[in-house]
């Protein structure tokens, strides 16, 4: 994990000179850049990316805010320990390509992470500027800038590749954990094949996260980068069904990394949840993002609603409710049982949702759905809540206020209350150790499972986390598997 080799060491002469260019006072006097965004009234009419990205001038100014700390705390907030000052200082000196090279030393998908990482809870939360009661350096915006600039230049950095080892390794799932593992193993000279169950490569980056937050074209370029490194992709192939674990051995794979994701949507088991017009966020987002529902000439249908309720307060709930607005909902509301302070969604997502006219019905919990004579949902019964004592998650737990029940007309309900691990792989490999929650049990250092040659990471291990944590798992698993195979 701790590969400290970097193309931008802090004691490089250019960095020393750059530090002297401005005084601390000059740097801290600059206000944090504002991300240029599409106008809310326009963006709800289309799927275009809301955040427009910084231009070069904005990026260089923002990069000059970074103090290039001797002991950069931001890196400790990053699950993959990106050399953050290293890439930012390259931006400041105008060498955007070198900035991208620094990012690629640790991150397989910088253009993705720059868009979807919760920087406010990670790198940016540790920034020195907080001590000065100022807004942190916009690390996420800069990461995206460096990755986008490199991609748009057409001159993409191919990382240094080791000599081919002619050792085959298999990856199950092509989401962030699988892609990150694949990239790291390819760099080490392994012959990598990624097996994907769906007909598109990218996993949650394609079926889950909407285009207005992460354009598919951005993901596609990252995947092409891996292809150029020799990674092979097999779609429509389900390990555990199409191919068994034993088949992989017969095919000569010496190691398997399982990153099959958190498959199963959770429901609340309340009356009326199986009515027509009540669906999981996975179903709704998959229909729209992966299957093209709602676009002309695409075959997959999706139910539309005038009054749409999305149940939950996470990023997936925000993605769903904002998608509903774009699919023509006149009223799109978030129904969340705690208050806005406890919401797990990113601050930016909540802000964007509000700008787009999404209503927030916090401290409410659905208890029943009712339908019209055709079985289509037309009413949501909600219980009003108040906050009680903190629960095991540390958040104040919601408690029902007796008798405070409301009926709210709705014609589409999207349930976004989390996912459970997909049981497909555990069911197919009975000797694999699995937790009570259904996640694959691993050694946290090495990501190795109870089966020696099988490693696992991402949501199949964590149950439900972020893109960057999944990528970190992929990196750790790659390092550990390579070490084991090279013994």
């Amino acid at each position: 994990m701790s590969e400290q080799i970097t193309s931008a060491p802090r004691d490089a002469q250019w960095r020393e000179e750059l530090r002297k260019k401005y005084t601390a006072k000059e740097r801290t006097a600059i206000a944090r850049v504002k991300m240029p965004e599409l106008d809310p009234a326009y963006r709800v009419t289309c799927n275009e990316e809301v955040n427009q990205g910084l231009n070069a001038e904005q990026a260089v100014v923002e990069a000059s805010r970074c103090m290039d700390c001797p002991d950069p705390q931001c890196m400790k907030g990053c699950p993959v320990s990106i050399n953050i000052p290293g890439f930012i200082k390259n931006i400041e000196r105008g060498d955007f390509h070198a900035a991208a090279v620094v990012l690629k030393e640790t991150s397989a998908l910088p253009a993705v992470c720059g868009r979807v990482c919760p920087q406010e809870k990670q790198c940016e939360s540790k920034c020195l500027y907080h001590k000065m009661k100022k807004e942190p350096v916009a690390i996420g915006y800069l990461e995206r800038f460096a990755a986008d600039t490199e991609r748009e230049s057409g001159n993409t950095a191919v990382p240094a590749m080791a000599e081919p080892k002619n050792v085959k390794v298999a990856v199950v799932g092509s989401g962030p954990a699988g892609l990150s593992f694949a990239g790291d193993m390819a760099k080490r000279g392994y012959d990598v094949t990624v097996f994907e169950a769906l007909h598109e490569i990218g996993g949650v980056l394609k079926y889950g996260i909407p285009e207005f937050r992460l354009p598919n074209a951005v993901v596609e370029v990252e995947i092409d980068g891996l292809r150029n490194m020799g990674v092979k992709f097999e779609k429509d192939c389900i390990v555990g069904k199409t191919l068994s674990y034993d088949n992989l051995h017969e095919m000569g794979f010496k190691g398997v990394f399982v990153a099959s994701g958190a498959g199963l949507p959770r429901f609340m088991n309340i009356p009326g949840e199986n009515l027509n017009g009540v669906m999981s966020s996975n179903e709704y987002l998959t229909r729209v993002n992966l299957m093209g529902a709602g676009r002309p000439d695409w075959d997959t249908p999706v139910l539309r609603g005038k009054r749409v309720a999305v149940i939950g307060g996470g990023n997936t709930a925000m993605d769903s409710v904002r998608t509903a607005r774009r699919m023509g909902a006149e009223v799109a509301m978030i129904v969340y049982r705690r208050s806005e302070d406890e919401m797990p969604a990113r601050v930016e997502e909540v802000k964007h949702a509000k700008e787009e006219g999404v209503e927030f019905m916090t401290l409410h919990n659905p208890i029943e759905y009712r339908a019209d004579e055709n079985g289509r949902v037309n009413m949501m019964v909600v219980q009003q809540m108040e906050l009680g004592e903190p629960d095991e998650s540390g958040r104040r737990s919601p408690v029902a206020i007796e008798g405070a029940i409301k009926e709210i007309p709705v014609d589409l309900v999207i349930v976004s209350v989390g996912v459970s691990p997909n049981p497909l792989i555990p069911n197919a490999i009975p000797e694999l150790e699995v937790s009570r929650r259904g996640t694959i049990v691993i050694n946290e250092e090495t990501m190795q499972s109870s089966l020696g040659d099988l490693y696992a990471g991402g949501d199949i291990v964590r149950g439900g986390a972020t893109v960057i944590l999944a990528m970190g798992d992929g990196r750790r698993a790659a390092a550990a598997m390579a070490e084991a195979l090279e013994k």
């Binding site: 169950a197 389900i238 498959g263 996975n282 299957m291 075959d299 997909n422």
Partner: protein, 260 residues
């Protein structure tokens, strides 16, 4: 991309396709299904595997043109390709020697029933097959069913072939004359509902195989959820076969109309 190597019309709207899918042919068991997509903008739809040939590396699908996507598939000819075929999905049928098994299929439901009839016979059961359709032209795979059945009863709504009446009349005639240890039913949801009601009356264990709306087919979306014994189940990973006496068919019928 999976090549169609053979196509046969069973009736105007029902076609049999033999499709190259060597890995699926090798790993599939009776009861399994695949998800098929036609065209880069196509929909993913579930189809039960009717047969497979490991040596040739092919699987057989029987498709009825009911909606846009199934019609598109039916229009494809031998030599053309299905864009995606993924599987085998679902839980395989539990095959055991239980004694006498009545296998009843309605319409294209006979296609996925055929491998079960075969396996039930090979497991040593006495197999009585009841095939039902609206009219003579819609009775499919009769010869293949006969090959593995001790007896075949044909029922048509209009009496144009076999006995005039519903599938339930055919099943009941068997139940009334001999001991039936198990019933397997595959067909339209409404047919399976009435088969379940009948066999519940006689307390005969009954397995049904359900075909619901699906997107991914791997448990991810939940579009296929139904209620079994009061609990929500996903047809794609918990099924497609369930205890027919515990399935809430009315809810399933309602959910099948989601997109109508």
């Amino acid at each position: 991309m999976n090549k169609i190597v053979e196509k046969e019309h069973f009736s105007e709207k029902v076609v049999k396709l033999v499709v190259e899918a060597p890995l699926i042919a090798r790993s599939r068991r009776p009861g399994h299904f695949v998800i098929v997509r036609t065209g880069e903008h196509g929909e993913r739809i579930p189809l039960t595997i009717a047969d497979a040939d490991i040596e040739k590396g092919t699987i057989t699908l029987v498709v009825q043109a009911v909606g846009d996507s199934s019609s598109k598939i039916c229009e494809l000819n031998a030599g053309e390709y299905l864009t995606d075929v993924v599987g085998p999905l679902g839980q395989a049928t539990h095959i055991a020697n239980v004694g006498t098994v009545v296998c009843c299929g309605g319409g294209v439901g006979v296609a996925p029933l055929l491998p079960i009839i075969k396996a039930m016979k090979q497991a040593g059961n006495r197999v009585i097959s009841v095939l039902a359709a609206r009219t003579k032209d819609l009775i499919i795979l009769e010869d293949q069913v006969r090959e593995y059945s001790d007896e075949v009863i044909i029922m048509t709504d209009d009496g144009s072939y076999g006995t005039k009446g519903l599938v339930t009349n055919g099943i009941e005639s068997v139940i009334q004359r001999e001991t039936v240890n198990q019933v397997v039913t595959i067909g339209p949801a409404i047919m399976m509902k009435f088969v379940a009601l009948l066999t519940k009356k006689y307390e005969i264990p009954t397995v049904c195989s359900l075909n619901t709306i699906m997107v991914d087919g791997t448990g991810m979306c939940g579009a296929c959820r139904i209620t079994v014994d009061g609990k929500t189940k996903f047809v794609c990973i918990d099924g497609p076969e369930f205890d027919a006496h515990k399935v809430n068919f009315d809810e399933m019928l309602m959910r099948l109309r989601s997109y109508n």
